[in-house]
């Protein structure tokens, strides 16, 4: 269905770190380490629960200051692939604090961007250093609702442009 249609809908970042793969693996899979780097400036990660095995669940809370006061955002997901020190794949969806994914809308639009996204991390040992490739992509092609939010929004934007609003 949406096979091969995710390229525009993904961010790929390649980085090298001056640390061995097992340490980078811990950065992603041990809450204490994960919390230390995952919140960009201004955001903290008060909660990170990680059951790192295929089918295991994860729950992460990010808290950020906004003009209207602190806002907490919860993200739940599931581990899809776990190959220690080499490859980690998990999904992520906006959720409530108990990990219940926000329900799909009952009308109007397909699943919104808190729709499911997927994060894949690949680690490669370069003589004690690590090459890491992180791919954050739109909802995986095999998931229900794959047609997705991004597509609906581009349609919406196109329609708006066609109407010449603004």
């Amino acid at each position: 269905m949406a096979d091969g249609n995710v390229s525009r809908d993904a961010v790929v970042i390649e980085r090298s770190f001056d640390a061995p793969p097992d340490l980078i693996w811990q950065m992603w899979t041990e809450p204490e380490h994960f919390k230390a780097w995952y919140g960009p400036d201004g955001a903290t990660v008060p909660v990170a629960k990680m059951d790192v095995r295929v089918g295991g669940s994860r729950l992460v809370c990010m808290e950020m200051d906004t003009p209207g006061g602190p806002v907490q955002m919860w993200f739940a997901g599931e581990y899809r692939e776990v190959v220690e020190n080499e490859r980690l794949v998990y999904t992520e969806s906006a959720s409530d604090e108990n990990g219940n994914v926000l329900p799909p809308p009952d009308m109007g639009m397909p699943d919104g961007h808190p729709a499911t996204t997927q994060v894949a991390v690949e680690l490669q040992d370069l003589d004690g250093r690590t090459k890491m490739v992180m791919t954050h992509s739109g909802i995986p092609a095999d998931s229900p609702g794959a047609a997705g939010w991004a597509m609906a929004l581009s349609k919406l934007a196109a329609r708006v442009e066609a109407q010449g609003i603004r």
Binding site: R8, D9, A10, V11, I13, R15, F17, D18, A19, L23, I24, M27, H33, A36, W37, Y38, G39, P40, D41, G42, A43, M62, M64, T66, G68, V71, M73, A94, L102, P103, P104, P105, D106, M107, G108, M109, G112, H113, P114, M132, M134, H136, S137, G138, A150, L153, S154, L156, A157, R159, V160, E161, Q163, I165, R166
Partner: protein
């Protein structure tokens, strides 16, 4: 520190989108501008409740309200929509910032290991 701005804007926008009612309002506005009464029609919600949703969408930059007459019609702001439809690129600076932090944290860990328990 542009990524800070991006992160805030993005989180605000995503927070605004995390509601099926608000997404349905956006879908309705994609068909043309509408006032609060018209927007309230398909919902089992009071006008003040709808107004609240619209305010959230306005704060997130997704909806603008005209000054025309007393109706003050709502319309989509396509600029923000385009930004959001390219959400992946919006995320890039966020991830870059995270990995900068990971780098810094790794260095911190390494110097802690070198100096043992000494915490300067």
């Amino acid at each position: 520190m542009t990524f800070v701005i991006d992160e805030d804007r993005l989180s605000e926008t995503f927070a605004a989108l995390a509601s099926s009612t608000r997404r349905a309002i956006l879908a309705r506005l994609a068909e043309g501008e509408a006032n609060v009464n018209e927007l309230a029609e398909p919902f089992d919600l009071t006008l003040p409740a709808i107004s609240k949703h619209i305010k959230v969408l306005q704060r997130a930059g997704l909806v603008v309200r005209g000054q025309r007459a007393q109706y003050r019609p709502c319309a989509l702001d396509p600029a923000r929509l385009e930004e959001i439809s390219a959400w992946a690129e919006q995320y890039r600076p966020v991830w870059e910032a995270r990995f900068d932090q990971m780098d810094g944290y790794l260095m911190q860990l390494r110097s802690q290991r070198k100096t043992g328990e000494h915490d300067g």
